[in-house]
């Protein structure tokens, strides 16, 4: 874009210049100035244009710098940042591994790194380790705090106070997350113990802390006197509780949950007036913008990632609003105020997770208000569209009751017959489910099948029409998974399965490492054998001889300057031949009394010799240089070979790390096998426990359905009796 603008400017200038040149005739001076101006401007623009053009191209800069040596404390931070990178890449296990390796390298672990480790341990389900680490950390930070306090007395360093406060807040977050996971596991006493570690509570975590206390104390009200908080935190928390009881505090979103919990508790205690006020406030509750910090995101559930989207916040707010509305309707029904509950549910939105419940309550209210047409439509919707919902069987019964109330006895009887068929189908399905379950030893099979068939659909979707036997089994399994104990066991089974897979992967890696060690040992043995079998000393002495010969040759050549010294094979042959010929000629001359032909031969021979000598002399300097180079190369080769020989000798004499690594590997391999067998045992144990619990669930369901069938048959008998009475009349 910028380039286009520049080009346009450039062309504008050219056009301008052309116009100027047209006015040359008016004034030579002006023309000259303008021309110079044009030239200068064009040059500047050309430079500018060039710079713009090159700006798009690559700009490379080469530097040569000296390295900076780091202190160990700085290095520890660098290693910690490597773990951070893994964490950001959604590899918490690798981050944790990196942190444990760091702890081996450095004797002192900074508090923030320990907190990070604890957080990762919690996210990986290593609660015991996290707890131990946090307890250790509490002690060390308390000590550090006292020493810091002393320093602060002297220096009043503001940044140190801030840093301590941050660390304290981080500690609170980690404890809160650990407590949250303990509550999720239904281990309330453990959660209480974890929360007892929090003594100082930063303002932003007060609501969260109190919500957890509410969950632990449920259905009682938490006793603030038993909280292990310091005076300041306790006072602040008490004021927050009283504020949230009097009116909704929207500063922290968690206060909505405090209020909701309180309303539920009051409903439970039949304190309807107070609960009603709270629910009405929650019905119009609006969410405040609240940004979770890095640590909160870190220790939160893995699925949270790093994104808390506003749209989802809105959904959560709607969830709270709708839930409060539903509770309000229920509260009215419990008090027999059906008109109010009807009004509440009349405007209940359809797209909520509570639609089924709302529909049923709405139908029930309409029935109680004798608005039979509406009740019929609603109950029929539940029966036809939600055949597997929680409230379907109640809807069937309510529908039959409605017909009875309307004195439509035939319709009522028909409905009771349908209900009987419905219950019988359910019992049959349950029996089939039980059979399929007994036939299948690996219970994860059902869960996998469920996931595969419900791709993208929620797992506990119980209301879709179930057609095949497999889907029916999945439905009952899903229903059974609503039981906390069964759901927990399923989760545990999945965890063990995941661990077994990890162990398998580790074993594969271990095999690969074993073969690598083996290869290295073999390679080392081959080198050792070759080293022993080869007579390196002889080879070296040969090289030395060759080197000496060359050195002598060069010495001679330098002193004599004779080209014959560097004669090649052919020329050496010629030289020998000339020599032989000369001796032959000398012999003939001695015996033949001065023949003129001999002299001519001698003459010719010395001419040939002269030419040969001249040729050799011409090549002398080149040959001398080449030989000198060869000697240098030979010298280098000799030295390198000698050095390498010594090095190999030294290396072979050294203690090889391979046996140690091999021993380590054997230990790891043993541990892996032992862990694998543990995993298998655990899997079998969980499987059998799970199977027992699901069977118990099936048994209970059978009992319930039998009860319902009995009730149904009794109701049917009453209707038949009434019909008989009518007929008799």
């Amino acid at each position: 874009m910028q380039l286009t603008v520049t080009k346009r400017l450039f062309f504008n200038y050219i056009i301008h210049a052309v116009n100027v040149r047209k006015k040359v005739t008016r004034s030579m001076l002006i023309s000259s100035l303008i021309y110079r101006y044009f030239l200068a401007t064009t040059c500047c623009l050309m430079v500018l244009l060039f710079s713009f053009l090159t700006a798009d191209k690559v700009y490379a800069k080469e530097q040569l710098s000296k390295p900076t040596q780091l202190l160990p404390s700085q290095l520890s931070e660098k290693f910690y940042r490597q773990a951070l990178y893994f964490y950001f890449q959604n590899k918490p296990d690798e981050a944790l591994r990196q942190l444990t390796i760091n702890q081996d390298y450095f004797s002192k672990t900074p508090v923030h790194e320990s907190l990070f480790t604890a957080g990762l341990q919690i996210s990986q389900g290593l609660h015991q380790d996290a707890q131990v680490l946090l307890e250790k950390l509490s002690l060390t930070t308390d000590l550090a705090k006292t020493s810091d306090d002393n320093i602060l007395m002297q220096k009043s360093d503001h940044s140190t106070i801030e840093s301590n406060l941050k660390k304290e807040a981080l500690k609170v977050i980690v404890f809160l997350e650990l407590a949250a996971q303990k509550i999720a596991e239904q281990n309330l006493s453990a959660a209480q113990t974890v929360l007892a570690n929090i003594t100082s509570l930063p303002e932003q975590y007060q609501a969260q802390y109190y919500v957890m206390q509410q969950l632990i104390a449920w259905p009682q009200k938490p006793d603030t006197d038993k909280f292990m908080l310091d005076k300041v935190s306790k006072t602040r928390l008490e004021s927050l509780i009283s504020e949230s009881n009097n009116g909704l505090v929207t500063q922290h979103n968690s206060t909505a949950y405090i209020l909701l919990n309180e309303a539920l508790r009051e409903m439970n205690q039949q304190e309807f007036a107070s609960a009603e006020g709270k629910l009405k406030r929650l019905q119009v509750f609006t969410w405040q913008e609240e940004k979770g910090n890095f640590w909160q995101q870190l220790f939160a559930d893995k699925t949270s990632g790093n994104q808390l989207l506003t749209g989802l916040k809105q959904l959560e707010q709607n969830g709270i609003n709708h839930y409060a509305q539903l509770l309000l309707a229920q509260l009215y029904i419990e008090q027999g105020l059906f008109q109010q509950s009807y009004q509440q549910l009349e405007k209940f939105p359809k797209d909520t997770p509570f639609t089924e419940q709302a529909l049923f309550l709405f139908g029930y209210s309409a029935f109680k208000l004798q608005q039979y047409n509406i009740a019929e439509v609603i109950l029929n919707t539940l029966i036809t569209q939600y055949p597997y919902a929680n409230f379907t069987q109640q809807s069937w019964v309510l529908s039959a009751q409605q017909y009875t109330a309307q004195n439509q006895l035939n319709k009522a009887l028909n409905r009771y017959l349908q209900i009987e068929e419905y219950y019988q189908t359910k019992q049959h399905e349950l029996s089939e489910f039980s059979k399929a379950l007994t036939a299948q030893k690996d219970l994860l099979f059902f869960y996998r099948a469920l996931n595969e068939s419900n791709e993208g659909v929620e797992v506990n979707n119980t209301t879709d029409k179930v057609s095949s036997d497999n889907s029916i089994n999945e439905f009952w399994l899903t229903l059974s998974l609503r039981q906390t104990d069964i759901a927990n066991l399923y989760q545990q089974l999945q965890s063990v399965e995941k661990l077994a897979k990890q162990l398998q992967a580790q074993q594969n890696k271990s095999h690969w490492l074993a073969s690598t060690i083996e290869l290295n040992v073999a390679r080392q043995t081959t080198i050792r054998d070759k080293h022993k079998s080869t007579n390196y000393e002889q080879l070296l002495s040969k090289l030395l001889d060759k080197k000496d010969q060359l050195a002598i040759l060069l010495g001679k050549a330098k002193s004599l300057g004779d080209g014959k010294l560097f004669a090649d094979k052919t020329k050496k042959k010629l030289l020998t031949r000339i020599e032989k010929s000369q001796s032959a000629l000398a012999f003939i001359e001695d015996n033949s009394q001065g023949s003129p032909s001999i002299q001519a031969y001698q003459h010719r021979l010395s001419r040939v010799e002269g030419v040969l000598a001249w040729q050799l002399q011409q090549e002398f300097s080149t040959r001398y240089w080449q030989t000198r180079q060869s000697l240098n190369v030979l010298e280098r080769t000799y030295n390198n070979t000698l050095q390498q020989y010594k090095q190999v000798d030294e290396l072979l004499a050294q203690h090889s790390p391979l046996p140690l690594l091999s021993a380590k590997h054997a230990l790891i391999a043993n541990k892996t096998t032992s862990s694998q067998s543990k995993a298998n045992q655990l899997k079998t144990r969980i499987n059998s426990k799970l199977l027992a619990n699901i069977n118990l669930f099936i048994e209970n369901e059978h009992i319930k359905i039998t009860e319902f069938l009995l009730f149904n048959q009794r109701a049917m008998a009453n209707i038949i009796e009434k019909l008989n009475q009518q007929e008799a009349l």
Binding site: D56, V58, Q63, S65, P67, T68, P72, R81, Q82, L84, Y85, F88, D93, R97, G125, A180, I183, A184, Q186, N187, L215, S254, L260, L264, D301, T303, S304, Q307, L315, G319, Y323, Q330, F348, K350, T352, P353, T355, Q357, T384, N390, F391, Q401, E458, N461, D464, Q483, T484, D485, L489, S495, L503, T516, P657, K671, K678, L682, R685, E707, F711, A715
Partner: protein, 215 residues
């Protein structure tokens, strides 16, 4: 109030609510609330039922409570797996990259305002040894303070040269390159070199600096 053909849409919203509920820390609270409402409605329905039926549900068998020993065993197994993983990693490193020959190159980015990292090429003694193309997430990980191990290899003792070429975009989204050459001496200990891409506020450009770590 309710149209059957909108069932799918409703399920989508329900899924969203669920995934969101899982995404936040208050998931437990939500779950407890949701299950409470389910329970309370069930109770209401059963109460309604109880008026009609004479039989109570005392015949139902109670399920066993949560088994903590299994949870403890799983945690123990998790710990063992993690320890084994760490030991294998160290063994692999000791075997393939012993300290006497090990050389590692790391990349870090400070702020990244003037340079959006796109890729890096690494040469060791004029030979290409590593290249990396960054995704948005990886770039952000670096900008948030993470340090990436770009290369790990083996080298003989002596003097060596490393060259890194960083390719990215400047503030005006033009492709730019930043390169650095560094000479280093390999001795008995492992060599760790950090390539730091840092913003230079004076010329509003990014520079690459080298930092050598020593244990």
């Amino acid at each position: 109030m309710w149209l059957p053909n909108e069932r799918v849409e409703q399920m989508k919203i329900k899924n969203k609510i669920k995934s969101f509920s899982c995404a936040i820390r208050r998931v437990i609270t939500c779950t407890v609330f949701f299950s409470t409402i389910m329970m309370s409605h069930q109770a209401l329905s059963e109460e309604f039922f109880a008026n009609e039926t004479t039989k109570d549900s005392a015949a139902l068998k109670s399920v066993s409570t949560v088994d903590n020993s299994i949870a403890n065993d799983i945690e123990q197994l998790k710990k063992e797996v993690m320890t084994l993983n760490r030991e294998l990693f160290i063994l692999e490193e000791d075997l393939l990259f012993p300290a006497s020959t090990q050389v590692s190159v790391f990349v870090s980015v400070d702020i990244g305002r003037f340079f959006t990292l796109d890729s890096v090429e690494l040469k060791l003694n004029n030979e290409d040894v590593a290249g990396f193309l960054y995704t948005k997430r990886q770039r952000e990980s670096l900008e948030q303070g993470g340090i990436q191990r770009l290369f790990k290899g083996n080298l003989k003792m002596g003097q060596h040269q490393i060259t890194a070429i960083f390719i990215g975009l400047d503030q005006e989204q033009r492709t730019v390159k930043r390169a650095i050459t560094h000479l280093f001496e390999k001795e008995d200990d492992a060599v760790m070199i950090e390539l730091k891409v840092e913003d230079n506020t004076r010329n509003l450009q990014a520079d690459v600096h080298v930092e050598e770590w020593s244990l």
